[in-house]
Symmetry: C2
């Protein structure tokens, strides 16, 4: 995962990929939610210093490029949960893992708002979130000892956690909100685990 751990080829690939994704997100934010159609592939490619054909080697749609960072982050959810100490209760582990994952760094308000207020982008982000549910469910199953094949609890809980994160994002973006994302996220996740709630 560290840059030094990969060879030059892989590092360059990641660099161009990130460049394209960042350029796409930046341009999308500039145009705003209603002007997504104005963000042309040509613009993204030239902003990233790459040819349109190369852009297409990495992403097969503008939505995918714009949401790539968000998608990558969501994809780390399973690993984040597994990184928690084994003895930790499920709720604590999930909350700690997700808070850690989504507060380093604090999400970018403009980017998140862009994605969550644009139907096409929301669909793409949702897809990324859902792809992350599988590993997350496996991590939950590993922690609770449940059989992922017969017991629905791990998968449902993973979906609920993903849903809570989305709700937290929406609420955090709401006008007049002053709480940190970590605080909102913790509150949202506490709604998922009422049975194990301490009080």
């Amino acid at each position: 995962m560290n840059d030094d751990a990969m060879d030059l080829r892989t590092r360059n690939k990641r660099a161009t990929r990130d460049a394209i994704s960042n350029a796409a997100l930046r341009l999308a934010i500039e145009q705003g939610p209603s002007g997504l159609a104005l963000v042309r592939v040509h613009d993204i490619a030239s902003a990233a210093g790459v040819s349109p054909r190369t852009y297409n080697n990495y992403f097969s749609s503008r939505e995918e490029a714009i949401c790539a960072l968000q998608a990558d982050q969501a994809g780390r959810a399973g690993r984040a949960l597994r990184a928690r100490p084994a003895g930790e209760p499920l709720e604590q582990a999930v909350v700690a893992a997700m808070v850690e994952l989504y507060t380093d760094p604090e999400p970018d308000r403009a980017g998140l708002r862009m994605i969550m207020s644009t139907p096409e982008l929301e669909g793409e982000a949702l897809k990324a979130f859902t792809m992350a549910e599988g590993p997350l469910a496996e991590a939950i199953a590993a922690r609770t000892g449940a059989d992922p094949e017969r017991d629905l609890f791990p998968a449902v809980t993973a979906a609920s956690v993903a849903g809570a994160i989305r709700v937290a994002g929406r609420h955090w973006l709401a006008p007049g909100n002053t709480d940190s994302f970590a605080a909102v996220l913790t509150r949202a996740l506490s709604c998922v685990f009422p049975a194990t709630h301490p009080s």
Copy 2:
């Protein structure tokens, strides 16, 4: 909602819309998950007996057309919950409403499998599901008396319910499963409400 309740124009519109959507889903199923790209707009339109331009007046992508039925059904979730008797406890009301919504009729295995095993379609279906969460959250808030603006419980629960329905669908489709969808759905939803679990 009844055909007789609308004028001719509206009925025709719904008829062509349904025709296009059904044709799209049927053709998609014929080609299978891997051959989605082979389902051309021209084919959908001619199968539905309309011009390609008319297809485009109703849907702006093949994915949207294929998932339209699924989307319409999900959109009725909020109404279904509100239709439950007011005094009924939340869990019972949710389970009853969702079981009623999703067992009349029993979902089509081929269609559901097609949608859930094709990334592009899954994204579209996810978007539809998420659109339905808003009304569902409002219905939950109305039933529990929570303030949707300040309390995250209704939105998180709505997202969890939607997630549970997705998980139930996936599990129901799994090879070797013999349970009815209603049974799987009830099991999945019970994971969302552990606090009020009877046992």
